[in-house]
Subunit: 303 residues, 2 copies
Amino acid sequence: MSVKNEMIKNLNEKECLEDFQTLQNKKELASSWFKELRDKICNSFEDVENKKMYKKRKISFDQNKWERDGGGGGIISIMRGNVFEKVGVNISTVHGEFSNEFRQQIPGAEEDGLFWASGISVVSHMCNPHVPAAHMNTRMLVTGKGNKKKIWFGGGGDLTPTFKDIKSSNIFHQELKNTCDKYDPSYYPRFKSWCDEYFYLPHREESRGVGGIFLDYLCNEDWERDLSFIKDIGLTFLNSYLKIIQNRLSKEFTQKDRDFQLVKRGRYVEFNLLYDRGTIFGLKTGGNTEAVLMSLPPKVSWY
Amino acid sequence: MSVKNEMIKNLNEKECLEDFQTLQNKKELASSWFKELRDKICNSFEDVENKKMYKKRKISFDQNKWERDGGGGGIISIMRGNVFEKVGVNISTVHGEFSNEFRQQIPGAEEDGLFWASGISVVSHMCNPHVPAAHMNTRMLVTGKGNKKKIWFGGGGDLTPTFKDIKSSNIFHQELKNTCDKYDPSYYPRFKSWCDEYFYLPHREESRGVGGIFLDYLCNEDWERDLSFIKDIGLTFLNSYLKIIQNRLSKEFTQKDRDFQLVKRGRYVEFNLLYDRGTIFGLKTGGNTEAVLMSLPPKVSWY
C-alpha cells in the first residue's frame, strides 16, 4: 500500500466523535499556531534581510488581507529585499462547501462537501543563486458534518537549490529527520519518499529540487501530539533554512550563475502550474489568486 | 449548440471512406504545406530581424530536429534577436496510438486510439513591449483505422499586446475576417467567439490577449477547399503580423514598459501551463517537451 493510501485508510478508520467545543478548541489551537509561526518566520527573515541592508530604509514584509467569498480569509505577507528577492508567507483559515467536482477527492467531503481548513505556506526565492529556494506548508483540515468529522494535518517542506549543494541538502534533511524521529522512526523515510515522488516533473524527467518531507492525512489517537509534530516541522524548517542562508549568503556569483537560476526557476513554475495540487485546487475552487500564486518566482527565464 | 459541439457533430456525420492512396495524398499535401509555410515565416522574420540588425553577424533561426518514440517527429526553429526576443516555429508530423486516458477525448480515437497528426505552430515574443506577441497554429488530424477514418483541420491565430493597441488588434481581426468571409460568412463570428472563450484565464478574470480566431474539427465535403482555408489562415497571420510589427517597431519604450511586458508574459505562462489543451496534452502524452514549451516567453516576472 502506498504511503498515501495507508494514511487515508488510517484517517477513515478513525472518524472522531467530537463535541462542538472540543473541535472548536482544536481549530483555534491550530490556527493560532499558524499565526504565531508566521510572526516567527517573518521576524527572522526581516532580521536576515536587514543585516545585509544596503539602504537606510528597513526592509520588511507587507501584509495584504483577503476575504473568501464562501467564508473565511487570509493574510499574504510578502517581502522583497536584497537577500530575499521575493518571500511570501500566507496564512489562511477558510470554510465552506466543495463543489461537486472536488468532493470525491477529499476524504470526508463526499457526502456534503463541507470543509474547514487552516494553514500556513512559505515560499522564498533568493537573490543569490547559491542560496536555495525553499518551501514549507502545514495545515489542518476538517470535513464532514454532524458528529462524523474527519480531522487531519498535512504539510511538509522542501528545498530547491540552483546548483548542486550537498551541504545545504544534508542540513535540511538531517534536521527534518531528527524532528520526525522524535515522533515515529517510520515518519522520515515515508515522508521523504512521498516528497520525492510528489515534487517530480515527468515531462523533464527531473526533480523540482532536493526534496525534504511531504505528508497528508496525519491523524493519530493523540491529536495534541500530531499538532506538536506539525509545530516542530515549522520550527525545524525555519531553523535549518536560517542556517543554510547563513552558510551560503556570502558566496559570490556571476551573471551566468544568475541566468541559470532564472532558468531553474522556470522548472519551479512548470511544476506549480502543471502539477501542484494546492495551486490547481486553489485556482479552480475560487481560492485567492494572489495568495495561491504567491509561490511564483519574481523573475524567470525560459531558454 | 456550442460551436465546438456543432463542429464535432459535423465531423461525426461524415466519416470518410478513403482509399489508402487518397488519404496518403491528403497527408502529404497538408504536411508539405506546413513545411512551406514554416520556410515563408522564418524567411520573413529573418528579413525583419536583419533590417534592424545591430551586429554584423546575420541573425537567423536555429533548427533542432526531434523524433517521437511512438512514431514521427518534428523540427523546432528558434530565433533570438533584437526585434524578436524569442520566436519559435515548430512543424511536426507524428502518428501512433493514444493512451486509454486520452482516447475518449479525441473524436474517432475511442476505439483503437490510432492517430496521425501534422501541423505548424508559431509563437513570437518581442523585445519591444509595443509590438504584440503573436501565436498561430494550424494542423490536420486523422483518427480511426480501416475505412472509417475521421479527417479534420484545426488551428487559429491570436494576438497578445502588452498595452492597449486598437490599431494592431483591428488589422489582425480585419484581415482574418476577410479571409474567413471568402470561405463562409459564418466562420469569422463563430471562430472569433471560440477564440475569446478559449484564451481566457478564469482565475484572473482576464483574456490572454485581444483574440483572433480559433477552430477545430473542420471537415467539409470539399477537403481541398478546407486545406485552402487553412493555408490562407497561415498566410493571413503572417501578412497581418508583419504589418503590425512594421507599425510598432520604432515606438520608443521605457524600463517601466518593459517591466510591465514581463508581468503580462506571466499571464501567458499561466494560461499555457494551466489551461492550454495543446500544452497539457503534449506534455502528458509524451510529446517533445522542448517543442511543446517553445511557446514560453524568454523572460517573465511575477510581482
